[in-house]
Symmetry: C2
Subunit: 232 residues, 2 copies
DNA sequence: CGTGACATTGACCAGCTTCAAAAATCGTGG
DNA sequence: CCACGATTTTTGAAGCTGGTCAATGTCACG
């Protein structure tokens, strides 16, 4: 899922049509005065299903996952969140999933009450929040066709392409994957064994190289083809 | 339910409280003066992927589906929309899916430009739009665990429970399904044959009765259990 | 009635899951 | 720094769910 596209340094609001002002500062910065830095250890919860939405967070460093559980333990990882992403703004009233730190995480925490109040008085912020929700809905829709209609191989390829797109800025070939195989499996709706097998298969085909530190994409074109994504 | 024609003075939505109710007068009525009634025939498109988001619509009567297609024809029905639902507000800039009339549909159409302008000047409307986006995100998250982790039987049961919940007001037992089996299959990430087989199976178990006009829920408790139970 | 779209049913089997176990990696303390 | 246990990942084998292909049945509508 491509939810990590906007970075902290970003200054322009996404829908240019709606905001013709030149180089307007990110409306999210309005929140900064009410922010507090928080650190969360690996695997620790950030919030749980049903908790009142007292806060929201902006990720400064690290990786976060949102998790939905079924009674019998079946798990769905909704999304991975990265530095710059906003967490906990989607839910109104009470959180409708869990959020957990995949790695050690540094967050900037804001009271939701302040966010809502500011959004009331600052249309630019309200618009920005709506734009972020819209972007998330678009990503989720892509994830739905992945979960519902793609084969295991296509799922893995799509996932790697997404992770690559997210981290184009950092390094050239290597895609670092801070989450484990179980997280990937539960994000793609498959078993850990199948994830492992298909990564091995892609490696055998010379398309990727599975390393300890992550996955090296040797043939991005082939990977993109396998992902079956026409858009972009 | 008749929606949207009356010119009711809107009341302030209380901030932070999710109020997507389709009954109470709300900020959406601000749009009414810019609305125009449109009719769309069964199976006809309302908008296509990539089209600029010139309009949005409120469904007055009928059923609408949003569709995402892959190059090879694989299809995902993202959601079904019903009277009172807002269509085409999720996308910014350009639509990122198709929308088609499942039945003959009556819509109330509004220029997006007006919606955005009104949202800028009326925080209540902006808040309402964000609440609707949030509600949709919550639903989509449920759909993701359905697609990724539920068995075919659980998918069908969940779907019927959803349809039932939506139409509690209408009749007591019968759930009308205006969409065909292919739509259901593509919504749940399975094949038409499996949809048909599992409906027959539920019928054989005395839990539902498959009728021409829809599906009669004979044992809602059993169905609700099936919707979330594990496979064994 | 005849026709076409849609739904159901059956037979087969491919892809993926499950169960099991080995291999690799991580973490911790001596 | 190494050894050892725990966790994670990989690999193997077997089985099942659900998909595909094909045929039949049903209904709406001219």
């Amino acid at each position: 899922m491509r939810v990590g596209m906007q970075s902290v340094q970003q200054t322009q609001n996404s829908p240019g049509v709606l905001n013709p002002g030149r180089t307007a500062p990110d409306a999210l910065n309005l929140l900064e005065q009410f922010g507090r830095t928080v650190n969360v250890l690996r695997r620790r919860e950030i919030y749980r299903l049903g908790e009142p939405t007292e806060f929201c967070w902006r990720i400064v460093a690290g990786c976060v996952r949102t998790v939905t559980l079924m009674d019998d333990g079946r798990r769905q990882v909704g999304e991975f969140l990265w530095p710059g992403d906003l967490l906990g703004m989607d839910d109104l009233g009470a959180h409708d999933s869990d959020a957990e730190a995949v790695t050690h995480v540094t967050l900037r925490r804001y009271p939701r009450r302040m966010v809502e109040a500011l959004a009331q008085s600052h249309p630019a912020l309200a618009l920005r929040l709506r734009a972020m929700a819209a972007a998330k809905l678009r990503d989720v829709r892509q994830q739905m066709i992945l979960l519902g209609r793609k084969t295991a191989r296509e799922k893995i390829a799509s996932f790697l392409v997404d992770m690559d797109r997210r981290s184009t800025a950092t390094s050239c070939q290597l895609v670092e994957l801070p989450m484990n195989r179980a997280d990937i499996a539960d994000h793609l709706g498959m078993s850990v064994e199948t994830v492992s097998r298909l990564l091995a298969q892609l490696q055998h085909g010379g398309i990727v190289a599975v390393l300890r530190s992550g996955i090296e994409l040797c043939d991005r074109v082939a990977l993109r083809d396998l992902a079956c994504e026409s858009r972009h």
